[in-house]
Amino acid sequence: MKSYHYIFLLFLLVSCGSEENNEEEYTPKYVDLEIPTLFQEKLIAPLIPADNPLTEEGISLGKKLFFDPILSQDNSMSCSSCHHPENSFTDTTKFSEGVDGNLGIRNSMPLFNLAWNFDERFAWDGKEFGLETQALEPVTNALEMHSDWTDVVNKLQEHAEYPTLFKQAFGITTINSTYVTKAIAQFERTLISANSKFDQYLLGQTVLYENELNGLTVFLSEEKGDCFHCHGNENEPLWTDNDFHNNGLDTNFTDLGLGSVTGDPNDNGKFKSPSLRNLVFTAPYMHDGRFETLDEVIDHYSEGLQRSATIDPLMKQIDQGGVNLSQTDKADLKAFLLTLSDYEFINNTNFQE
């Protein structure tokens, strides 16, 4: 009788021990973001929320979710439908088509270096605060995935793989939208672009042609391009100030941009400065994709500025449409901008399905 008790006790202990081992298997492995040399030297550390640290399992799950059409109403559309890796995570259309065949109202934004957006205001109009929050909206947006979070969560919960993957990434058994967006945000924070020709030039690994160097001078000159006040300089490798400006596109606004979010008429017509990295992959340009080529963009700043009440004071000689760059300066400016193209980024298999 006594020996039976001992055997039972031993069984319990072994049973408890094996449960602990299972729990250990689900401890995610924390990951330090690999920060490129230039970013280490020139920028403060990226923003990683304390309640959503990067883990191998979380990033992997986020990547799977990013490319999985399960998030959409009819399982036809994923995040990557509008954010293609080969296009620096935007698409090639003016407006993207949602699951119902309807077009959105703004150009899809490229995705990279998002962990260095310290104001944490995302989207053209800044309506989303934080990457995790941003990822919530496209799922339910009627012009995008037009889904419902309850349905999405049910589909994930019933999926053959996802329950295990969420358990491994977050230790949860009940999936919810918070953890879906946490995982997607983790993957998005790994999308770092920092290996363009210009980055290599700054690191002393290559040289620029004369026209590219002249283009840089145009970019950095207050009397010519004056691009640097909103898009940074050689020590500001994000190539955006992550702020909102009215860059003189229209006299009257059909899209209020930041003003529609803040309700302040002084913000009408202001949109987020996009990074100038990877422009060669991200046409068309502007919040509404109105310019199909970089030449059109440069022409706009050179002689196409439109006056309005909220036009940024950095815009110059508006009555002449701008500073009227010479054809040579325009061509050289374009040549410089193309040195910001990061082919390694768009070909990085870690960022592909």
Binding site: L43, S221, E222, E236, D241, P313, L314, K316
Partner: protein, 264 residues
Amino acid sequence: MKKITVLILAISCLIIASCSSNDDEFAKNTSITINFNHTWEDEEVTSEDFDELKFENENGETLSIERLRYLISNIYLENESGTVTELTDYILVNLGDEENLTFSSENLLLNGTYNLYFTFGFSDEENYVEDGYTDLNTESFGVPSTLGGGYHYMQFDGKFLDDTDTETGFNYHAIRATNVMSITSDDDLIETDTSFEVDLGEIYIENNTVTIEVEMDIAEWFTDTNTWDLNTLHQMLMPNYDAQIMINENGASVFSLVEESEED
């Protein structure tokens, strides 16, 4: 033996009493807060006043403010015997962001009279440190190398009504003065450190918590020494050596100490 013990006790008490009755001789932890206030002459200016053509400068031009950020460096206290206590190396003040209008530090200080100083902008020595400043790069506050490099001292942007009554942008940006963009030979290069030290005057420190109110009178950027004409000097001031010298001259009367308060 008893007498000796009593004597030692008496001396000890005297020493202790002497120490406790003279706090001035011991440095104590003092919390210093500097609030940066902004006025247009006597009227308070906050970000609520942005974007309105409501200010008139000495030259009679009506203007608005849309952005005002500036760099204050080397904030320090100097006591009567010349001992210097640095409060911080630099801060970026942003009128558009309430969180960036106050600076606080903890310091070991003796009670007494101090003079408060800071530098507007960076001196050349601080402006051109080898690795730069990652926080200022992240804030897009740098000056391109083609314009002399280093960092802005100030970005003050807005609009004014020009001679034709047209709303026109102005970018009153202060940097180290250089003629680098207007010369054809390096031999003609002139570079002048246009940062300047501000002597805010005396403060008296007696308690553990000190709050200092510093004021920038924005209107002063447009007058004294130079009456600023925005019609001729509104944009492209960074490569304009003479304009930078004028900004430096006008800056001398911009800052003042308006109030100091203390709490135990």
